[in-house]
C-alpha cells in the first residue's frame, strides 16, 4: 500500500510538473498577441452568442398591455389576439411597438436587433430579397428571413457543434489511441488494420450516404461525424503512449501493480497533453468545415436550423443576391481565421520551432 502511495506521489509530482509547464505555456500563449486576441474575441463572441435571444429576436423582451406584463422571450408563443392585434397566429411585436407608441400605458421593449432567425415572408412586414440596409444589416433571404440574425444564430450552432464533435472524437480517439500504444501487440495490430480500412473510406461521401438515409438532427450528426473524426487523434496518441510507456515512471507504476486504467489516465495521459491541446483548434476547424459542407450539400442539420452552409447553397441559386452568399461565407471565414490564429499560437507555445540558420 505504501508503495502505491509513493508511486501516486510520483504521479502527482509528474502532474505538478506538467501543470507548471502548462502554466508556462499559457504565459507564452498570452505573449503571442495575435493568437491571444483572437482567443479573447472568439470566446467573448461565443459566450455572448448564448444570450442571442435577448439581443437578436423578433419576440419582445417585455410587453406591457392593459396593466399586465409579459415576457415573450421567455414565455414563447403568444397569440397576437392576446394584445388585441389583428393577426393570425403569433403576435408581431414590431408592429405592436408602433401601435403602442400612440397608446398610453402600453409599451413594448424589443431586443436591440428586432429580427429573428425563423420568421419568414408569412410574417407581416417581412420581404424577400431585401438588400442590406440599416434595418436588415445583411439583407433578407429567399423566404424573407433576416440574414444577419440567421448568421449570428448559426455562429453559435456551428461552434457548439464543432466543439462537441471535437470532444466526442477526442474521447474515442484518445482512448483507443492510448490503448493501442499502451497495450501494443495483437490489440494494436488488429485496431491498426481496422483504422486503415476505416480511413480508406471517402469520409464525406460515406457521410452523405448515411445522412441521406437517416436525416440527422444536431446530436445524431455529431455522432455520425464522430464515427470518422476519431481516427486522426489515434495516430498521435498511439505514438505518444508508445514512447511514454518505456519511461521509468510507468515501469515503476506497473511493478507496483497499479491498474492499467489508472496508469493510462493518471500517469501517462497528463504527460501526453501536447498533441491533444495543439490539435484541438484544427479539429474544431475540421468540424466546422464538415458541418458547413454537409449543410451546403443539403445533408446537414434539418431546416429551418440557421446554418451557414444551407444559407450559401440557397444564395448560390440566386447569384444576383450577393449578400446571401457573401455574408455567411464571410462569417465562416472570420470564424475559421480566428481559430487558425489561436491554433497557430497554441502550436507555437507548445512546440516552439527554433529557427536557426547557418551560413
Amino acid at each position: 500500500m505504501e508503495n502505491t502511495a509513493t508511486v501516486d506521489q510520483a504521479a502527482t509530482a509528474q502532474q505538478q510538473i506538467s501543470l507548471s509547464v502548462l502554466k508556462k505555456r499559457w504565459l507564452k500563449f498570452k505573449s503571442i498577441k495575435r493568437g491571444y486576441y483572437a482567443f479573447i474575441i472568439l470566446i467573448t463572441a461565443y459566450i455572448i452568442s448564448f444570450f442571442l435571444p435577448l439581443l437578436i429576436n423578433n419576440r419582445a423582451l417585455v410587453v406591457k398591455y392593459e396593466g399586465d406584463i409579459w415576457f415573450p422571450v421567455f414565455q414563447g408563443y403568444i397569440a397576437g389576439s392576446t394584445f388585441g392585434e389583428d393577426v393570425p397566429g403569433e403576435a408581431n411585436y414590431r408592429e405592436l411597438k408602433e401601435k403602442f407608441r400612440s397608446e398610453n400605458g402600453n409599451w413594448v421593449i424589443m431586443p436591440p436587433y428586432p429580427y429573428g432567425p425563423f420568421e419568414d415572408v408569412t410574417t407581416a412586414g417581412n420581404k424577400m430579397y431585401e438588400e442590406p440596409s440599416g434595418v436588415h444589416w445583411f439583407g433578407t433571404d429567399n423566404t424573407g428571413r433576416d440574414v444577419f440574425s440567421r448568421l449570428m444564430y448559426g455562429f453559435n450552432i456551428s461552434l457548439s457543434f464543432a466543439i462537441l464533435f471535437t470532444i466526442a472524437s477526442y474521447l474515442i480517439g484518445v482512448s483507443i489511441g492510448a490503448m493501442m500504444g499502451y497495450f501494443g501487440g495483437k490489440f494494436d495490430l488488429i485496431t491498426q488494420r481496422f483504422i486503415e480500412i476505416w480511413a480508406t473510406l471517402p469520409f464525406l461521401f460515406v457521410m452523405i450516404i448515411i445522412s441521406s438515409i437517416v436525416r440527422p438532427n444536431f446530436f445524431l450528426l455529431i455522432v455520425i461525424l464522430t464515427l470518422f473524426g476519431w481516427i486522426g487523434m489515434t495516430y498521435y496518441m498511439r505514438a505518444e503512449f508508445y514512447r511514454e510507456k518505456t519511461k521509468d515512471y510507468v515501469a515503476a507504476a506497473i511493478s507496483m501493480g497499479q491498474s492499467h486504467k489508472k496508469i493510462i489516465f493518471k500517469h501517462i495521459l497528463p504527460n501526453s497533453l501536447v498533441p491533444i491541446i495543439t490539435y484541438f483548434p484544427f479539429a474544431v476547424i475540421g468540424g466546422i468545415g464538415s458541418l458547413v459542407g454537409l449543410d451546403f450539400l443539403g445533408f446537414g442539420l434539418p431546416p429551418p436550423t440557421p446554418s451557414w452552409g444551407q444559407m450559401v447553397s440557397v444564395g448560390l441559386q440566386n447569384m444576383v443576391k450577393w449578400w446571401m452568399v457573401l455574408a455567411p461565407l464571410g462569417a465562416l471565414f472570420t470564424t475559421l481565421l480566428l481559430i487558425v490564429f489561436i491554433g497557430e499560437a497554441i502550436r507555437e507555445a507548445f512546440d516552439p520551432r527554433v529557427y536557426s540558420r547557418l551560413r
Binding site: K33, R34, V354, Y355, S356, R357, L358, R359
Partner: protein
C-alpha cells in the same frame, strides 16, 4: 616560441533565446600555435563549443551572432568586430526604429487595410487605377516600415566574411563534432559525403555519378539475374494490364504486355550504359580517382572493406564508425587546424582511445597541423594536450601548459575540477571533492566573477566586479581576484591580458 596560427581577441558570441540575450561567449582571448595540441575543458554549457564554432563562424544566425572580437588567421584578419559595430550604428529601419518586428508588421498591415478601405471609399473606379493604387500601397508600406539602410552594409560585410570563411573551412580548419549519430546526412551515401569533402560536385555531376554507378551495376549483374528481373516485371505488367483490361486474357494482348514488361528493365539498363558512354573519359578518370581517394581515407581511419562501405548510408554505420567517417572527412584536405569537439563523448571507452589516436594521425600528414581538443575529461587532456584552456561561464578562467596546470592550479574552479578526478594514489580521501552547486543559468549569470555562486573562497568584490585575466607567469594566466590581490601584495603589477 612557436608561430601563431590563430589569434583570437575579445570574442563575443551572443544568442537570442526568447527575446533574452544569452552571453554564451563573452570576451574570450586565446592563441593557437602551429603544431600544438590545445585542450579546452569546462563544464557543460561553459561555452567551449561556441567559442570554437565562432572561430569559423559556424554559429547559427539567428538566433546567435558573433558580435564582437577579432580573429586573425596566419596574420590575415578574417573577422573584425569593430567594423561590425560601425555597421550596427546605422539605424536598422528608415522610420519608427522603436517598433519591434511583430508590431511593425501589424501596423504595416493596418496601414494597408486603411489604404484599401480608403480606396474603396474614394470614387476612383476601374481596374487599372485600382492596380496602380495597390502597387503604390505595397511600395509605400515597404518604404515606411521595412526599408532598412543598415541591411545593405550588413549583407556586404557578411558576404565577404562568409566567402572567405568557406574557403578556410574544410581546407584549413576542419571540425569533428560532438554528435556522431546525427552529424552525417541520412539520405546520402558515405561515399558521396566523403568525396564531397574532397571536391564538391554540382548537381549535374551528381547525376553523372549516378549514371556511372547504375551502368556499372547493370554491367556487373549476371545474365541470370537480368532475365529474372525481366520476368518479374513482365508478370507484373501482365497482371496490372489484365486488371485494367477487365481480365480479357486475349493472347495477343498478353504477349504484348509481357514483351513490354520484359523489355523495360533491359531498355533502362542499356540506356544507362549508353548514357555512360556519353560521359567523357576525363570525367570517368576523375570519378575513379575521387573514389579511390575516398576509399583511402576510409581505410586510413580503419573502416574494414572500404570499397563496399562507400556505397552504404549512415544509418548502416555504428556510432564509432560514423565518428571515423567524420574524421576521414576532416582529414580529407590535410587542414592546418583540426578542432575536435568532444569526439569521444558519445562513444564507448574502447573506441575513445582509437579515435584519439586517429586524430593524432593528422600530424603524420602535416607537421605543423594544430589540434584543439574540447573535452570534459581531464585525463584525456593530461595524456594528449600540451596547453589547456579552462572555461567557465563564457569566459576563460585559466590558461597554462598542461604540466603547470596540473601541478600548480591557481583558479578555484580549476582546483575544483582537478579535485573531482578520481585519483588512485589518494586512497585516503574517499570522497571526491566535486564542485558544489549547479552551473548557473546562462541567461542570468552573476555580474561579478562568473564562478562566485559556487566559489568557496570568494571575497566581497567577487559578487560585483569581474576580475581580469592576468598573466601570472609566462604562459599561465588566471582570472581571479584572489590571485590578483596576491600578486599586488607581492608588489608585482598584474598585466591584464584583456587590455593588451
Amino acid at each position: 616560441m612557436r608561430e601563431k596560427l590563430f589569434e583570437i581577441k575579445g570574442l563575443k558570441t551572443y544568442f537570442n533565446i526568447g527575446g533574452q540575450t544569452a552571453k554564451a561567449v563573452d570576451g574570450v582571448d586565446f592563441d593557437i600555435y602551429k603544431g600544438e595540441i590545445l585542450g579546452v575543458v569546462g563544464e557543460s554549457g561553459s561555452g567551449k563549443s561556441v567559442s570554437l564554432l565562432s572561430l569559423i563562424q559556424l554559429i547559427p544566425n539567428p538566433p546567435g551572432e558573433v558580435t564582437d572580437g577579432e580573429i586573425t588567421f596566419n596574420g590575415e584578419n578574417i573577422f573584425n568586430g569593430d567594423e561590425l559595430k560601425r555597421i550596427k550604428a546605422v539605424p536598422q529601419y528608415r522610420f519608427f526604429n522603436k517598433l519591434d518586428v511583430s508590431k511593425r508588421t501589424g501596423i504595416a498591415f493596418l496601414f494597408m487595410l486603411a489604404w484599401f478601405i480608403l480606396h474603396l471609399m474614394l470614387p476612383i473606379p476601374g481596374f487599372i487605377p485600382f492596380l496602380i493604387s495597390m502597387i503604390l500601397m505595397t511600395g509605400m508600406t515597404w518604404y515606411l516600415f521595412f526599408n532598412s539602410p543598415r541591411k545593405r552594409h550588413e549583407r556586404t560585410f557578411r558576404e565577404k566574411m562568409y566567402t572567405r570563411m568557406r574557403q578556410i573551412r574544410g581546407s584549413e580548419i576542419a571540425m569533428i563534432f560532438q554528435e556522431p549519430m546525427t552529424s552525417l546526412n541520412p539520405v546520402y551515401t558515405i561515399g558521396m559525403q566523403i568525396v564531397e569533402a574532397i571536391k564538391p560536385k554540382s548537381f549535374g555531376e551528381m547525376v553523372k555519378d549516378r549514371i556511372i554507378d547504375l551502368a556499372a551495376s547493370f554491367r556487373n549483374t549476371r545474365w541470370v539475374n537480368k532475365v529474372r528481373t525481366s520476368a518479374i516485371v513482365a508478370v507484373l505488367f501482365m497482371f496490372f494490364g489484365q486488371l485494367g483490361a477487365g481480365w480479357s486474357f486475349q493472347i495477343t494482348q498478353l504477349i504484348s504486355q509481357a514483351i513490354w514488361g520484359a523489355a523495360l528493365p533491359l531498355v533502362l539498363g542499356y540506356l544507362m550504359v549508353g548514357l555512360d558512354k556519353l560521359i567523357s573519359e576525363d570525367y570517368h578518370e576523375e570519378y575513379v580517382d575521387l573514389q579511390r581517394q575516398g576509399i583511402k581515407l576510409l581505410d586510413q581511419v580503419g573502416i574494414p572493406s572500404p570499397e563496399t562501405r562507400l556505397k552504404d548510408y549512415p544509418h548502416q554505420f555504428s556510432g564509432g564508425m560514423r565518428q571515423r567517417v567524420m574524421i576521414a572527412m576532416a582529414l580529407a584536405k590535410k587542414p592546418s587546424l583540426l578542432i575536435a569537439d568532444e569526439p569521444t563523448t558519445a562513444l564507448d571507452v574502447t573506441i575513445q582511445a582509437q579515435i584519439l589516436e586517429l586524430m593524432k594521425d593528422i600530424k603524420d600528414q602535416r607537421e605543423d597541423a594544430a589540434i584543439v581538443l574540447i573535452t570534459h575529461d581531464l585525463a584525456v587532456i593530461a595524456e594528449t594536450c600540451e596547453r589547456v584552456i579552462v572555461m567557465y561561464g563564457g569566459k576563460i578562467q585559466e590558461v597554462a601548459e598542461v604540466k603547470e596546470l596540473f601541478d600548480n592550479p591557481l583558479h578555484p574552479y580549476t582546483k575544483g575540477l582537478l579535485g573531482s578526478i578520481p585519483r588512485p594514489e589518494l586512497q585516503k580521501k574517499a570522497r571526491l571533492e566535486a564542485i558544489r552547486g549547479m552551473v548557473p543559468n546562462i541567461l542570468n549569470l552573476p555580474e561579478g566573477c562568473k564562478f562566485c555562486t559556487r566559489c568557496d573562497v570568494k571575497i566581497d568584490k567577487c559578487d560585483t566586479v569581474d576580475p581580469d585575466l592576468v598573466e601570472v607567469t609566462p604562459g599561465h594566466s588566471v582570472r581571479c581576484h584572489l590571485v590578483i590581490d596576491e600578486m599586488v601584495a607581492e608588489q608585482k603589477s598584474p598585466v591584464s591580458v584583456d587590455d593588451q
